[in-house]
């Protein structure tokens, strides 16, 4: 006889320990595909490790990779807290990136003090718009936001291709579908010389701190969590549920839009259709690993970025497909799901004991 019984409250050790164990387990499980690919296991792990921690440059590359993941992770974490399933961060990222390219490539030739905040503002607004639409369809028509946000990702990427072949196309780009470069004064400054880390990382960390504060300490955060835990109860308690959903939709979309802004106006300097290798979807994994806590998102994003950068370097050295990184990330999500279960419930085998309680 197997029964499943809820544990009382979760201890802090469980909450923090579990994602770490899940992450490590996912890395260990990567040994299976590595073996199948015929790569030497220990050498591969060593290569992965040195690909992230081997040099100052490698480490800075990891931080560069973590930057968009912090944004998209926060976007997913905030929305999921309200049980608003925003799976559209990928599209919202591109909306933000298009706004950045539209504003920053020469329409306004003003000083950086004005241009950079304008780019950020429009990027946020574009991303927010991208999530307000499905949130409105949900509130107004009951259209499931999971499906609408997923489908919008495809629509937005097709729209992006149109923009890159038309209005946003670089006339000097030799026919490549890419935007003109962002004006120099519109680029976010670099954090360190000769490294690619840029102020997008600082903005991401500030956003995480702000989101953590808002979620845990503010009335807004309280309402948001109430809506997420029990929408009907929240409605009965007089919380304006629809308005809460719309504000979190706007914030979530804006954060995803910022990911696009920071990639275009912080890292690349121009917009292409392959700007994001799925940062929006990976953000969901980041948020889940973080237990939907904004502070945790930062740590989870650093871990996932390490997996990607480390696996990239390992794949090049060992000739293993770089899809290994995606596989590890997906496995980490499965592990953390299972782990989350074990932290909330215990599986009891054998004859159930009376008493207790």
């Amino acid at each position: 006889m197997i029964r499943i019984e809820a544990r009382g409250s979760q201890s802090l050790a469980w909450k923090i320990g579990l994602p770490i164990i899940s992450a490590i387990l996912a890395l260990i499980l990567a040994a299976i595909p590595l073996t199948l690919a015929g790569a030497p296991i220990l050498d591969s792990y060593a290569q992965m490790f040195s690909g992230v921690f081997g040099s100052k440059f490698a480490f800075s590359e990891m931080l560069t990779r973590a930057t968009p993941l912090i944004f998209t992770g926060l976007a997913a974490a905030l929305a999921f807290r309200a049980k608003l399933w925003n799976i559209g961060a990928e599209g919202q990222l591109y909306l933000g990136a298009m706004a950045a390219a539209a504003i920053g490539t020469g329409v306004f030739d003003v000083s950086g003090m004005i241009l950079i905040p304008t780019i950020i503002l429009f990027g946020c607004a574009a991303g927010a718009f991208g999530m307000i639409v499905p949130a409105t369809l949900k509130i107004r028509f009951g259209a499931d936001e999971v499906v609408t946000t997923l489908l919008l990702n495809f629509i937005i990427i097709i729209f992006l291709q149109y923009m890159l072949e038309g209005p946003l196309k670089d006339p000097m780009g030799l026919g490549w579908p890419q935007s003109s470069p962002i004006l120099d004064q519109g680029m976010l400054p670099k954090v360190m010389d000769r490294m690619r880390i840029h102020y997008g990382l600082i903005i991401a960390l500030l956003c995480a701190a702000f989101a953590q504060f808002m979620l845990v300490r503010s009335v807004w955060g309280f309402k948001l969590r109430a809506v997420g835990e029990n929408m009907n109860a929240a409605r009965h308690a007089g919380i304006p549920v629809n308005r809460s959903l719309l504000t979190v939709a706007a914030l979530s979309g804006a954060l995803a839009g910022l990911a696009g802004v920071s990639e275009v106006a912080g890292l690349k300097g121009y917009l292409t259709a392959d700007l994001s290798p799925g940062f929006g979807y990976t953000g969901i994994v980041v948020a889940m690993l973080a237990g939907l806590s904004p502070a945790g998102v930062v740590i989870a994003a650093l871990f996932i970025a390490s997996v990607f950068v480390g696996a990239d370097s390992m794949s090049r050295a060992m000739g293993v497909s770089s899809y290994l990184a995606d596989l590890v990330v997906a496995t980490a999500l499965l592990c953390v799901l299972l782990g989350g279960f074990l932290s909330r419930y215990k599986i009891i085998t054998g004859v159930s004991q009376s008493g207790g309680k």
């Binding site: 259209a143 489908l151 990702n153 497909s321 299972l338």
Partner: protein, 314 residues
């Protein structure tokens, strides 16, 4: 001006519509079966990829076309089993588990493909299913060319529509599956296994989804490409709501969708000079959202959809 009427009356148009609809028919049926039992399966997109890869790979390794179909279905059922275990006895979030399955199944498929074929520049081809040519029937006016330019997999899809309808509406098993998606306590009270029924339905549904993927590599095309599923799975999730969880309406929805897609390809050649091609590319996704918005208000979701059930807890 345009010869829309002429397009709509042509055999090749309806033949193309049915061909485009085939993977969607499999996918919508699969999603329908899962959801009828109370489990949303967002693993569909990844299971499509896995079905496409495994079916193709099996044939490429020499399993024969039907061996490939079987291998794809088995792969789908295995991912369904994983999703079933995570969401049914363990009661984890169906949204997150489904997305995890999609990420896992697609990255595993891509990784396996790359590992098996590290160096190829152009994807190796297999000889896919050929159109069935049945004497006499193929010579029927209109119906002949529309139906009999299809491959065996399209007929399998049409048969599955009947099969799923029959099982759900005419058998005790179907009554139990629908009951477990509406009111699991009643099923438990009758001494049937809620877990068994739900996991079984998710596995069968996932196998159907994988066949939708297999159609892409074994009938529509003859090779496996990265990103070839391209949101078809998500479209199925929208279509199943549009079809109000009825197999017949699912068939209708998939064919309408296929017809629209076939129409836009033909319109593109007519008005391509004035309208950017992206408008046509985006049309299927926009149409899906419209279908969802129209259907959502009156949708009667299975009552226990998304709700985990634990023995002994009411």
């Amino acid at each position: 001006m345009f010869d829309i009427l002429q397009i709509l009356l042509s055999e090749s148009f309806w033949s193309a519509s049915l061909r485009i609809a085939t993977p969607l028919i499999f996918g919508v049926l699969g999603a329908l079966l899962c959801e009828k039992s109370g489990v949303l399966n967002l693993g569909i997109e990844g299971i499509f990829v896995a079905g496409a890869m495994v079916g193709w790979m099996a044939v490429w390794l020499g399993a024969g076309l039907w061996g490939g179909v079987l291998a794809a279905a088995l792969a789908g059922a295995l991912f369904g089993l994983l999703h079933g275990i995570l969401t049914v006895p363990l009661g984890l979030s169906q949204h997150v588990s489904g997305l995890a399955i999609t990420l896992f199944a697609s990255s595993l498929s891509y990784f396996s493909y790359r590992t098996a074929l590290p160096t190829v520049s152009s994807p190796p081809r297999i000889s896919p299913f050929q159109p069935l040519d049945i004497p006499i029937l193929s010579d029927l006016p209109f119906i002949g060319p529309v139906l009999f330019q299809q491959t065996a997999l399209t007929f399998l899809a049409l048969f599955c529509v009947f099969l799923v309808w029959y099982v759900l509406n005419k058998t005790a098993l179907g009554v139990a599956i629908k009951a477990v998606g509406d009111n699991p306590n009643s099923v438990d009270a009758q001494g049937l296994s809620v877990y068994g029924l739900r996991i079984g339905a998710v596995m069968a549904g996932s196998a159907l989804m994988a066949l939708g993927g297999a159609f892409l590599t074994m009938s529509a095309f003859d090779a496996f490409f990265f990103g070839m599923v391209n949101g078809r799975g998500w479209i199925c999730i929208a279509l199943v709501i549009f079809a109000s969880w009825r197999p017949g309406k699912a068939l209708l929805g998939a064919i309408l969708f296929g017809a629209f897609d076939a129409l836009q390809v033909r319109l593109q050649t007519e008005v391509g000079a004035f309208v950017p091609s992206q408008v046509f590319l985006a049309a299927p996704y926009i149409l899906s959202i419209f279908a969802l918005v129209i259907a959502a208000r009156r949708a009667e979701y299975p009552r226990a959809l998304l709700t985990p059930w634990f023995k002994g807890q009411r």
